[in-house]
Symmetry: C2
Subunit: 323 residues, 2 copies
Amino acid sequence: MTVTTEAIVERLRAGDRRVAARVISLIEDGDPATGPLLAEVFRHTGRARVIGVTGPPGAGKSTLVEWLVRAWRERDRSVGVLAVDPSSPFTGGAILGDRIRMASLTHDRGVFIRSMAARGHLGGIAEATPAAIRVLDAMGMDIVLVETVGVGQSEVAIAAAADCTVLVTMPGGGDAVQTMKAGVMEIGDVFVVNKSDREGAVRVKREIGVMLRLQERTPRPPVLLTRADTGEGIADVVAAIDEHLAAAGASGALQERRLRHLKRETLDLIGRQARRQALAALDEDTVARLTDALGARRLDPATVAAHALAAITEGAGNGTVRN
Amino acid sequence: MTVTTEAIVERLRAGDRRVAARVISLIEDGDPATGPLLAEVFRHTGRARVIGVTGPPGAGKSTLVEWLVRAWRERDRSVGVLAVDPSSPFTGGAILGDRIRMASLTHDRGVFIRSMAARGHLGGIAEATPAAIRVLDAMGMDIVLVETVGVGQSEVAIAAAADCTVLVTMPGGGDAVQTMKAGVMEIGDVFVVNKSDREGAVRVKREIGVMLRLQERTPRPPVLLTRADTGEGIADVVAAIDEHLAAAGASGALQERRLRHLKRETLDLIGRQARRQALAALDEDTVARLTDALGARRLDPATVAAHALAAITEGAGNGTVRN
């Protein structure tokens, strides 16, 4: 279906929103038939700047994203937004509310907003999001904003795979900084302390500053105060993002970073694909036998994994992969 | 080295703490030579009850763990503790402090405390922790407590792989419950609202209760109030854990759960092992060529991953895996 693939990509590149939405749905479904399509889409990417926005629940990320969209629209740049939902159904309501509020932006042809959900295939959202970002890139968006809740490791990883990662936190009992400490400080390019009218905002800003000095990164990421309810400080965030992107682009750091992310994504795909192949290559009897051995603690997981991998490679070598 | 493996496992089963510590260090290093040893250790596991304790930073998990250890020691049960550190060096200080405080327990022969760190091999802590748990199980510990910071997905996954998972939170601006909402509510068997003297504790307890009712799980997990500074409520937590384990053991749910975890661990190992094999099977020229194609956006990650996987299976089929 080469003709169809080319036709779809052509319509996508012309900015067809319905095509973009449909392709992202196929990606969410984990439909293997999208492979050739995504391979073609990939050739037309790399122009958009991808901004990750992450942080703990309740930090005000969605409202901040909304302000950023408006700020870039004023500067006449088109903006795609991907909101990555955690899989729990309990967050559905709140995120839907945000989406409805942001619907005021959807009459603007320069804005494309999409909520992402993992629909239960292996790898899920971590696998689907980079492909969805590329769809927005190929359709001509100047900026792609990816909003994730910085709770799960994979959500943080998604934001960290951006060209510029904005870490959002807020004042509140020191927990904000403690959460940031636990392995996510390293991924931020721009730090935002939102709800700056609350008590403790300046202290949180100072604490993040101290931790960043300990990291000795060059250039040191800025720490900015914002009020997402009034829009105060948003212009500074936009300026900081632009500055980061300009500096990284000029030094070659942006190209390096993108290649590093592409390589990691490739490695992750190899791992997930091998799992699927192993499952497909093992016949039911073998699975039952290995499961029994695990349950009876005769064979440990590493030994069973080695058996399964041998089954894939043998199957492929003989040209007789059993499905 | 079959003799050595058997000798080591024999000493481990006799409760030799130095052997246990050394084996866990080998696991942390990701030494492939531990494979046969861990396969043998696995045969002598399944007796210990594994309790996961997880929650946001600052919830008081370590102090709670300390109380639990003392409570079980009073009931004459031996206890192993694995404290899983996030990889960030910034948390090192605080966790070391906890360890020093818990050192008062280390003169007790019925207690074995160990802090786990990932030393940079692929898979890291997620791969090392189940193996380390088995070492404590094989050395005869009645209870193995695994404490993780519920921030990263892999840390949460580690706790979730226990026989009973205790989710710890605390009052604080509603964030505690929001954090819990985002995909981790499902993993808790016993819920603890620590720092119950703080304002809002009863409200947090009630909110968690409401969410649990929405989940319609049977039996519904208990939500308990504790004060880790005074030990108030600890006896209830111990009773709730014992009750959960007894009920799960009697119904067969415990066996099912363990088998499910072993299968998932096996699948994860297949994925990680395949990544390693792919890297080993690809010669430098191929890696350089594929990396160029990625960087120039000629081939997308999925296509490159397919090439790499084909290289593994071909290499294995020909009996000529290139290292």
